[in-house]
């Protein structure tokens, strides 16, 4: 019989100390190290883009603007958006957490193509370098969407457009390779007993995300390449002056970029499925429905891109079709929300830091999702388009949901990744600050947007009545930033002074909690046996371990 251990054996060798030196990290093929490298890089990019976010908020404190010219403001929101989307939110959960957790959760030694995995990370680095070149070569002020004809007009748009396009192109390949790796890993490296419906829901979500990454990302790659060709060679593809069609650019762009929203949100939903179930110590409600809803969201996500183009000159026929299909996405999304709520019902809820992030996600995503209905409705979208209502909506989905899911995941798997526990009370305090700060920042934007405050304005001297909302929004952003700073401090502090983490601090049942913290180089000493990953009845708290262990009389899988 294979014995499943949930206690920490005296492990000295783990993935952190197995080999030493900077080269052993930069050229590692170990999925855990690659995941950690992604995590560090993504968080640094988040810091950079966050600084630009704060600059934007302080600029808007007064109607006349405080310190930026209009051109500088355009650059600030472009850089903020482009870095947040391409370098932070898209790779955050799949590449950083997914790389670390996916193979262990699956019961595999590594991903299917470890070298390709490392190559993906290096592509991310090259993508970042091109974005930095864009910043240093005149900047970029087109907005993160690179809309034509502005982005191909050399007279008005700035010199950093081509490096930024190349950067986004390279980052696209990084994303495709990660997605391909995960699809093959899930298909080919499942151990005995790990059937599709025994997989943790995070893996279902990552799988659905990978399908989108592989199918949609090539389209943005080609689109950006066409834009580079148009700008350099002067072939008329999107420029009406040369016989091109700018609306076609929007079709191409949103064919990727709407599914990209699901690349951001689906893995975060997978994280939340784990958080809600583990921290309420209750079997996930409606497992198959949540699993299928991930696939349904991925599929529907491909059919709704035109709702970004209702006011672009898109035909009335397409507007109606896209509006109708957009409403259908709410069904699988609501399936998840209701199942999470049903999981919480009568659960033994531990309000740990990851759980606070999980509950925040449900609250914020519900608002983000419901306000999406206003924008899917043709009549109201015409009024709300290009207003702060849209800005608030997509921040509720992309930042409030995707990034909060990411933060929840970091806190959930931090003990596993580092082998150290962070200070729980500081974690809770920080999570609550993030929740309050986020809502103050962006709910005020819903209010000003619905009253008509347009987005992308560096000043609003003609509309001073909006100042009060901007002051609230800026105040909220300061609270939010404070929450992030506190979070960074206690996480870094835990690496040096944190308590040693047990193998299973939260009482999780999926396979990553069956290996020591931090995991050994090969993940498992012997192949783990797979059971119901949401059956917590076999675990009990052990005071000596300060973690969960198997009950003495519990039946092990396979017995």
């Amino acid at each position: 019989m294979t014995t499943l251990t949930t206690s920490n054996p005296p492990v000295t060798d783990n993935y952190l100390n197995h080999t030493k030196g900077i080269k052993s990290w930069l050229f590692t093929l170990d999925h855990k190290r690659i995941g950690v490298m992604y995590l560090v890089c993504v968080l640094l990019a988040f810091l950079l883009a966050g600084v630009f976010a704060m600059l934007i908020r302080f600029q808007l404190l007064t109607p006349e603007g405080t310190f930026m010219t209009q051109d500088q403001y355009n650059q600030a929101f472009t850089v903020h958006g482009a870095i947040m989307v391409f370098l932070v939110i898209i790779p955050a959960v799949p590449a950083a957490l997914g790389n670390f957790v996916l193979p262990i959760m699956l019961g595999a030694k590594d991903v299917a193509f470890p070298k390709l995995n490392l190559f993906s990370w290096w592509l991310w680095i090259f993508g970042l370098v091109f974005f930095l070149i864009a910043l240093g070569s005149g900047g970029i002020d087109t907005g993160w969407t690179f809309y034509t004809p502005y982005s191909i007009d050399k007279a008005s748009s700035m010199g950093g457009v081509i490096p930024a396009l190349i950067g986004a192109f390279i980052l696209g390949f990084s994303s495709i390779f990660t997605g391909m790796n995960f699809i093959v890993t899930i298909h080919r490296l499942r151990p005995k007993g790990m059937t599709w419906f025994r997989m943790p829901l995070f893996l279902w979500a990552t799988y659905a995300t990978a399908i989108i990454q592989v199918l949609a990302t090539p389209v943005i790659g080609i689109t950006l390449l066409l834009l580079v060709v148009e700008r350099t060679v002067g072939i008329g593809i999107f420029d009406p002056a040369m016989g091109g069609d700018p609306v076609l650019y929007q079709h191409f762009f949103w064919f990727y970029s709407h599914p990209a929203v699901y690349i951001m949100i689906l893995p975060a939903m997978g994280v939340v499925s784990e958080l809600i179930s583990v921290h309420s110590h209750r079997h996930i409600f409606g497992y198959k429905f949540i699993a299928y809803s991930s696939i349904a969201i991925a599929m529907f996500g491909f059919l709704v891109w035109g709702h970004h183009m209702f006011t672009s000159g898109q035909s009335a026929l397409m507007n109606i079709i896209f509006s109708l299909i957009t409403f259908s996405v709410s069904i699988p999304s609501a399936v998840k929300i209701f199942n999470w709520l049903a999981t919480l019902y009568k659960g033994s809820i531990s309000l740990n830091t990851p759980m606070i992030y999980g509950l925040s996600f449900i609250f914020i995503f519900s608002i983000g999702g419901l306000t999406g209905l206003h924008l899917a409705t043709l009549a109201t979208d015409v009024h709300l388009h290009d207003s702060y209502f849209v800005v608030a909506h997509f921040h509720y989905v992309m930042m409030g949901s995707a990034l909060i899911g990411f933060l929840g995941g970091i806190h959930h798997w931090w003990p596993k990744m580092t082998g150290k526990m962070y200070h729980e009370n500081w974690g809770r305090f920080s999570a609550i600050l993030v929740f309050i700060g986020f809502n103050v920042t962006f709910f005020s934007q819903f209010m000003m947007g619905s009253k008509g405050m347009p987005r992308r304005y560096a000043t609003y001297t003609e509309m001073p009545e909006f100042q009060v909302y901007h002051i609230w929004s800026t105040a909220g952003s300061v609270i939010l930033a404070l929450g992030f700073v506190i979070c960074a401090i206690y996480l870094i502090q835990s690496i040096f002074n944190g308590k040693k983490a047990p193998a299973n601090p939260w009482g999780g049942r999926s396979l990553e909690w069956q290996c020591p913290s931090p995991p050994p180089w090969d993940n498992f000493a012997e192949q783990p046996e797979v059971g119901d990953c949401y059956d917590y009845s076999v675990l009990e708290w052990n005071e000596d371990e300060q973690g969960y262990v198997w009950k003495k009389d519990a039946v092990h899988p396979g017995e």
Binding site: G107, A108, K109, H187, R188, L189, R190, P191, K192, L215, V219, D245, V247, L248, H251, F252, F255, F302, L303, G306, G313, Q314, S315, A316, L317, M318, D522, N523, F524, A525, E526, Q527, P528
Partner: protein
């Protein structure tokens, strides 16, 4: 532990196709290329169907792509699931191109050719 124990991870030797057969398929593809060239030179306006050249060229291209998929990419002998993925991907491209072009055709009548007088006036002012 080892993943090679897994039932999902069989060691497979790829299907081997005789070289003669591949050369035969290659010859068919070359012949079809010649057909495409011939079609491009033939003036179909003589039979009052000007678009016939494009239709035939595309039909030949589809037949050629099918041969490449079936024999050079081994779909003929692979698991049906791989064929499903291949056909699904093509349908996916058709969906993308189809919707984008349908929209382009739909809004053509509403396009105002050239600039309106007000825009022209404003642009002139900017230029000077």
């Amino acid at each position: 532990m080892s993943n090679t124990d897994s039932t999902h991870h069989e060691d497979q030797v790829g299907h081997i196709v005789p070289v003669k057969f591949l050369v035969f398929i290659c010859c068919i593809l070359l012949f079809l290329t010649a057909v495409t060239v011939w079609v491009s030179r033939y003036d179909f306006t003589e039979i009052n169907i000007a678009e016939m050249g494009i239709i035939l060229a595309l039909a030949v291209a589809i037949v050629k792509a099918t041969f490449v998929g079936l024999y050079f990419m081994h779909l003929r002998w692979d698991r049906p699931f791989v064929g499903f993925i291949f056909v699904g991907s093509i349908l996916f491209v058709v969906l993308f191109i189809g919707i984008a072009l349908t929209d382009t055709m739909e809004y053509q009548p509403s396009i105002i050719k050239g600039d309106t007088p007000k825009v022209t006036e404003a642009m002139d002012k900017l230029r000077h």
